[in-house]
Symmetry: C2
Subunit: 129 residues, 2 copies
DNA sequence: CTATCTGTTATATATTAAGTATAACAATAA
DNA sequence: TTATTGTTATACTTAATATATAACAGATAG
């Protein structure tokens, strides 16, 4: 299954869809040009209204992850390398700072964070489903 | 100023208060046993209702960052080391995974993340205000 | 040409989260 | 005694989230 939704989560459904697709791109399950299910199809698959899926798609498009072609479909978009990096660096600061503050407060060594990140990179770049 | 609130942020006010205090502990501005302002005082300082501050305090207490003593006040709490680490590892997984997925999708090398984290650690442990 | 499918727009509604406002309680501390 | 503390209760407003239903209009496949 490409997407699994936790309806009891504190995280909004449209955000779970968004994160799931970003994760799909990162893991190599979704590649440049790949079509995404229509808002109706994906909504039916995961038991969610089409507007909720549409909200996730609009967000993903605004972030440059996908391209919505009206009346044709929605597709994964690779995007420009430099612009991608800039996009990431702009938005990762706050959540990362919060995370590091928590780690320092909990007396967790920076090496532990490095190790976790390396492990996640390896999992994603290994490209196993 | 210990706390600065952005009323236009998408992040809830009580969460900004929570993060600000966690950051205060991480930076060494707040230490074990230090008293926090009363819910009314802090609310008045930052222009927010006392219930909003109380919500942040309750959250911080549930996470083990502070100790609320009824009718006496609220104080920073160091907590147990092992329990602290466990608490962090339980809760950091999801947001970190999302962050790393975005980084991989944006073709940002893991070394960049390592560097950012080291920089944040240095800033916090340097203990300059 | 005819259906079907596409994202899109519009309207309406329900639920929950977030935040404020005001008042009162009861023990602590000055 | 008096002010301060966290707490509880009630009421209210606003915004975010999610669903439901319908229609639009071009693209696409039969």
């Amino acid at each position: 299954m490409l997407l699994s939704i936790d309806f009891g989560s504190d995280q909004p459904i449209y955000m779970q869809i968004r994160n799931g697709i970003v994760n799909g791109i990162a893991s190599g399950n979704l590649n440049d040009g790949d079509p995404l299910p229509s808002v109706r199809t994906l909504g039916a698959e995961i038991g969610v209204n089409l507007h909720t899926v549409n909200k996730a798609y609009q967000l993903l498009q605004s972030e440059g992850f996908i391209e919505i072609q009206r009346r044709r479909g929605t597709f994964i978009k690779a995007g420009d390398a430099a612009q991608n990096a800039a996009e990431f660096l702009e938005n990762c600061g706050d959540p990362l700072k919060t995370l590091v503050s928590e780690a320092v407060t909990r007396r967790v060594d920076r090496a532990v964070l490095h190790q976790m990140i390396d492990h996640m990179y390896d999992e994603l770049e290994g490209n196993e489903s």
